[in-house]
């Protein structure tokens, strides 16, 4: 048993946490306007997009957040970046809280946190030259003494992501999707960050280009010691990139495990369903037994465990009692019946 544990144990477990997400919660008020509420006697409608989510990301590792649309992945990303204030809980980046720190400390933390966006066509200002786009973080954080130094740094960054110095004078529309994503990566690297949030960075790219971009990101991680929070719904990307994986369902983290443990022995019924549902090349002719149903309405989520209406193991307890996160073998799982999901 212990041999198996060490085999599945995360390689970065010993590493110190760079990012700590503590009981993060975000509620959105999606009520109709006040007058409509009064006239139509509607109650306020509150959407809990993220519900009590906690995880750590070790320095130099990649943490993947997986979940369907509407599970709260992007909301978590925005809160981690400080673009959205949490309703409760906090995000600590190397011990300091972006939403509470004073402005000066804030800029210092901000510099160390960057983002790579999903849609490379929308993430670059179409009226700016590539050189200006990449040098904006350098200028905003005052990382270069003069414009000459800034230009040198832009050339260096372009080379780092595999573009040429001459590309600095072009506009974004002169590049392909994969090249645009490289420009986005160069911009993210411009402020010398330690932590980069990647919001589905390859989902808008051609399959042939996806691998190149993922390889580039892995090489940069090895070279610069970057820490990634990788948001995706593509399990093959998770398998390729992640050290740790968190599975989100309707705003709650239902399972956290190392990549090896998650793919070898998923504990939560939802994780199992996700892995089953993923299309594979060797899957022709195989019968899939997939739990039916769609993700429920997040405004009126099911009581107890959110997953119980779709869960094959659900019982009376699941309908009333929210399962707490606990250790089951090599995973941390929020499920009353996790012991019974064995292979």
């Amino acid at each position: 048993m212990s041999a198996v544990v060490s085999e599945f144990a995360s390689s970065t477990e010993a590493g110190q946490a760079l990012v700590e997400v503590r009981a993060l919660t975000r509620r959105f008020d999606v009520s109709s306007p006040w007058l409509n509420r009064v006239l139509q006697r509607e109650p306020r409608r509150i959407l809990t997009a993220v519900d009590d989510v906690s995880f750590d990301i070790a320095r130099g590792s990649t943490y993947a957040l997986v979940g369907e649309s509407g599970s709260g992945k992007s909301t978590i990303a925005k809160m981690v970046l400080g673009l959205l204030a949490p309703s409760a809980g906090q995000v600590l980046i190397d011990g300091s809280d972006l939403s509470r720190a004073d402005a000066a400390a804030n800029a210092n933390v901000r510099r160390r946190v960057q983002m790579i966006f999903q849609d490379p066509h929308a993430s670059l200002n179409p009226r700016w030259r590539v050189g200006d786009i990449i040098s904006e973080p350098i200028e905003a954080f005052g990382l270069a003494a003069n414009s000459g130094e800034r230009a040198d740094r832009v050339v260096e960054l372009l080379a780092q992501v595999g573009l040429s110095a001459a590309d600095a004078t072009k506009f974004p529309h002169q590049f392909s999707g994969g090249q645009k994503q490289r420009i986005g990566i160069a911009r993210a690297l411009a402020s010398n960050p330690e932590f980069i949030v990647c919001d589905e960075p390859t989902s808008a790219l051609d399959v042939s280009v996806q691998a190149q971009v993922l390889n580039l990101m892995r090489d940069l991680q090895a070279e610069l010691g970057l820490t990634y929070l990788f948001i995706t719904h593509d399990l093959s990307v998770v398998q390729y990139m992640a050290d740790e994986v968190g599975v989100l369902y309707l705003g709650r983290l239902v399972e956290t495990a190392s990549r090896e443990a998650l793919f070898a022995s998923p504990r939560h019924p939802y994780t199992r369903m996700l892995l089953e549902a993923a299309p594979r090349l060797d899957g022709f002719g195989r019968e899939h037994v997939i739990d039916g149903g769609e993700i429920p309405d997040p405004i009126n989520p099911p009581a107890g465990c959110h997953y119980h209406p779709r869960c094959p193991l659900a019982n009376a307890r699941c309908q009333s009692e929210i399962p707490l996160v606990r250790d089951v073998q090599w995973s941390r799982v929020a499920c009353h019946e996790a012991e019974h999901t064995g292979l």
Binding site: L83, M115, S123, N125, E136, G162, S176, Q179, D219
Partner: protein, 333 residues
């Protein structure tokens, strides 16, 4: 580092291929002029005879207005140079008093119609361009703020715009003109008339700029490049000026051109009604207003030539605006 760079460069070259070929790395002046000549907007200009004629007409009118003091044969507003005996000289005739030649005739006071048209056009164009510039600055600023901020600020600005739209713009201009004129001391009224005109026409036209810019800004704000700027801790005014403004200016240039024609006509209407430019420094509208007094007594040239000039000016600007709108509309290409 170098290993990664070379590997990634190979990859990039493989991917780039097609787009790299079409782009010159260091374009010379000739190449740059060539690329402008073959660009979509110039292409559509070269292939539209109506637009070329409109541009020629507008350019010559603009040059004539700008260089009016050098082109015009007489100085019509200098009382010392006027000869009352030359009054009502028909076109292509010599005056009875001075014996001077008047191509387009003279008005009741012996002022050369051609010269007054040049000076009047100068004033009409100046007021029109200044009013549109003022309207654009007010409208773009308010539209950006409304689109970026949202919430009650947006609601307030856009409701004011909606209310203003329920009145005809000439009425709004008249109202603002009346109030502003009432507030200026009487001895300054004639001097201030032009500036009051610019203010009132400008304020009556800002709504369309604000609405268009607000719509575009609301789309742009949601794009990721704005998020990227926010991530750097950029302040809203910086994001609005540097990131969003350049992306919403396309439609603004179209509206500005079309509204220039409208502003010139509004100014002419106000002056025609006698509330615009004073008779001592008449605009085209004032000249038309003077001319219509003599239409039925046979002195048709005093009315006809300023009217034709106004028509040519407004029509050419309008045609240019229509062309610009179509040329910048990707759906029509």
């Amino acid at each position: 580092m170098s290993k990664i760079a070379t590997k990634a460069t190979d990859v990039a070259d493989g991917v780039a291929g097609t787009s790299m070929d079409t782009v010159e790395l260091t374009p010379g002046i000739a190449a740059r002029l060539g690329s402008i000549w073959s660009s979509d907007i110039v292409w559509s200009f070269r292939h539209s005879p109506v637009t070329i004629v409109a541009a020629l007409v507008f350019t010559s009118l603009l040059l004539a207005a700008v260089f009016a003091p050098w082109i015009s044969p007489y100085t019509p507003f200098d009382p010392a140079s006027l000869n009352l005996m030359d009054g009502f000289t028909p076109p292509m005739s010599t005056g009875m008093g001075s014996g001077a030649m008047y191509w387009l005739g003279t008005d009741d006071q012996g002022r050369d119609v051609f010269s007054t048209i040049l000076y009047g056009m100068r004033l009409s164009l100046f007021i029109g361009i200044a009013a549109v510039a003022f309207a654009a600055v007010v409208g773009v600023t308010l539209g950006l703020i409304a689109g970026y901020t949202g919430g009650w600020v947006d609601a307030l600005i856009m409701r004011i715009a909606d209310i203003q739209l329920t009145f005809p713009s000439i009425m709004v201009a008249l109202l603002i003109f009346g109030i502003a004129r009432g507030l200026t001391p009487p001895e300054l009224r004639d001097q201030m008339a032009i500036w009051v005109l610019i203010l009132s026409i400008g304020l009556s036209e800002w709504v369309q700029f604000a609405r268009t810019v607000r719509g575009s800004a609301m789309v742009e704000v949601k794009k990721d490049y704005v998020q990227a700027a926010r991530l750097l801790g950029r302040k809203p005014h910086h994001i609005l000026r540097k990131h969003i403004l350049p992306n919403v200016l396309g439609p603004v240039s179209v509206i500005a051109t079309i509204y220039l024609a409208l502003a010139i006509i509004t100014e002419a209407t106000l002056s025609f009604l006698g509330v615009g430019a004073p008779p001592t420094s008449p605009s085209l509208g004032t000249l038309i207003s003077i001319g219509q007094d003599y239409l039925f007594s046979g002195e048709w040239w005093i009315l006809l030539f300023p009217s034709l000039t106004l028509l040519a000016l407004a029509l050419s600007v309008n045609l240019l605006g229509d062309w610009l709108r179509d040329a910048l509309n990707p759906k029509l290409q």
